[in-house]
């Protein structure tokens, strides 16, 4: 059902945990839908120095969060904001169609954390000018 890469990231998730004094924190999803992702960023000089995640969800949700954190670690915030769910899926060697939403959630979690950083610092991140934090009540499952 899952690729080797998904199983690897599920079994040995990278960057799992929380972070004190994070520069940006983003959480998306809700328990009703069965997936929640929370991403913490440590940002220095517009570069993502460290990233951590916590996820409630299925195997592909955990693997997608893990992969997303790997893909943005060490990148500049302008590179990170361009992370797409497609890139996450590709890096995982594919996801079953019903699980693609997990990669969307991972992209949203990264954007939400970057937006939080932008809000706190007053910086403008290209691509997030019109970002609207997703209202949990508006989330339709999957």
């Amino acid at each position: 059902m899952y690729t080797e890469a998904v199983m690897d990231h599920f079994r040995n998730p990278r960057n799992v945990g929380s972070m004190e004094n994070a520069d940006g924190v983003g959480q998306v999803g809700n328990p009703k839908c069965g997936d929640i992702m929370k991403i913490y960023l440590k940002i220095n000089d517009e570069t993502i120095e460290d990233v951590k995640f916590e996820t409630f969800g299925c195997g592909s949700a955990i693997a997608s969060s893990s992969m997303a954190t790997e893909l943005i670690k060490g990148k500049s915030i302008n590179e990170a904001v361009e992370l797409t769910n497609k890139a996450v899926v590709e890096a995982l060697g594919g996801l079953p169609p019903v699980k693609v939403h997990c990669s969307v959630l991972a992209e949203q979690a990264v954007k939400s954390a970057l937006f939080d950083y932008a809000q706190k610092t007053g910086k403008v991140i290209k691509g997030l000018e019109n970002y609207e934090p997703i209202d949990d009540d508006d989330i339709h499952c999957h």
Partner: protein
């Protein structure tokens, strides 16, 4: 190969050795068509079916003439509902009463019948998965043609008070259909005492082969055919009989009836140890289903703050097979309709795991699985952004 722990016996069971041995004869030795009565080979097959029918009938205290073989539980459920509905069309009766926790073979058939004007009442259940007999009585109208209630639930194992339900149905002159697929071999079924008019059975949940089951239809019950064609099963269910499957089904029933009490007692004791083990070792768990009125093989818990599919994947790494009520395992958007009907919130329902033990399960297996679960749940909780009820129930 490392040891495997098959704890999904409500999904299906291993076919028993004696059952396979019995079935094999009907492939290349006694392969005659039971309808071919003019020669020996055909007659032998017919005898085998007659014998099987007797075994199944005795098991539920029915008459042989009231047993019909089908392709399994789903067909029997479809037949009971569609057969009764079609027999009642244009006769002023168009109402079915069922419950919110039935198998999809019942629920989706009701939805289908609604397209033809059938009205359905879906009874609620309490937090243990029990229906309310008063609500049942109140739901009966002059239009009610059928009450369809499962003997025992496949997910949470709750056993309904079927005898009392049967009395209510009889009192009101309404037919009672009971899906006994999970109850077979675990609960005493007596169609006379329990006033059951139609009963769905399936072989593969009690050590028989897949794709074969049966239906009890009380003499005199008006029901249309589901499968039309030849005159098999006394004109009620067409198709050349799967003799080897029928024989296998009967053998499984025979074995189940032989050591029924000892088997139920053994499983119940293991189940109780399993439930205690989970409760005593893992915090923040909720037992789904009824504490005592439950199938002797069923252990279903919700593990708060974690999700079921992740648990199943980690269990599989240790060779443990189980199932979950999480949406992520079914491909649907919502978690199990059964868990939601018992009042669980979605978040908690996503974290449910069902273990169903079997004949081969040992006490050591259970200790191993409990310890493995403890580790898995701790690990996933550490990863989870939900740390407490406030996070969980937050809208």
């Amino acid at each position: 190969m490392s040891k495997k722990f098959y704890l999904d016996n409500a999904a299906t069971t291993r076919v028993k050795k004696e059952v396979i041995d019995e079935m094999l004869k009907y492939f290349d030795e006694k392969y005659g068509n039971p309808s071919s009565q003019l020669y020996e080979l055909g007659r032998r097959s017919k005898e085998a079916i007659d014998n099987a029918r007797k075994i199944v009938a005795d098991f539920i205290n029915a008459d042989e003439k009231e047993i019909y073989f089908t392709a399994g539980g789903s067909e029997s459920d479809n037949w009971a509902l569609k057969g009764v509905a079609f027999a009642n069309f244009n006769k002023g009766k168009n109402h079915i009463i069922t419950t919110k926790i039935e198998h999809h073979a019942v629920l989706h058939t009701c939805e289908y019948l609604e397209k033809f004007g059938v009205k359905t009442t879906y009874l609620d259940v309490d937090k243990y998965g029990m229906i309310d007999l008063e609500q049942l009585k109140e739901a009966i109208t002059p239009e009610t043609m059928l009450i369809s209630i499962m003997f025992a639930n496949n997910e949470i194992g709750t056993i309904q008070p079927i005898e009392q339900i049967g009395e209510i149905a009889k009192e009101h002159g309404v037919l009672l259909h009971v899906d006994a697929v999970q109850a077979m071999g675990a609960v005493k079924i007596d169609v006379k005492k329990q006033h059951i008019d139609l009963l769905s059975m399936s072989a593969h949940k009690l050590g028989g082969p897949k794709g074969i089951g049966g239906m009890f239809i009380r003499k005199g019950v008006k029901i249309d055919n589901l499968i039309h064609g030849g005159g098999q099963e006394r004109g009620k269910r067409a198709g050349t009989e799967g003799v080897q499957n029928i024989v296998g089904f009967a053998k499984a029933v025979e074995l189940a009836s032989k050591d029924f009490d000892a088997h139920v007692k053994k499983l119940t004791s293991l189940r109780n140890k399993f439930i205690e083990g989970i409760k005593n070792n893992i915090p923040d768990v909720i037992l789904n289903g009824h504490p005592t009125m439950r199938l002797p093989n069923n252990v279903n818990f919700s593990y708060k703050y974690v999700e079921g599919e992740s648990i199943l994947l980690l269990l599989d790494m240790d060779g443990i097979s189980a199932s979950s009520g999480s949406a992520c395992t079914s491909g649907s958007l919502d978690p199990s309709h059964v868990l939601l009907a018992t009042g669980l919130d979605h978040g908690t329902a996503h974290g449910s795991i069902r273990f169903t033990i079997g004949e081969e399960t040992t006490e050591e297996d259970i200790s191993f699985v409990v310890q493995t679960m403890k580790g898995i749940v701790e690990r996933l909780r550490m990863m989870s952004p939900i740390k407490n009820d406030e996070d969980l129930y937050k809208k």
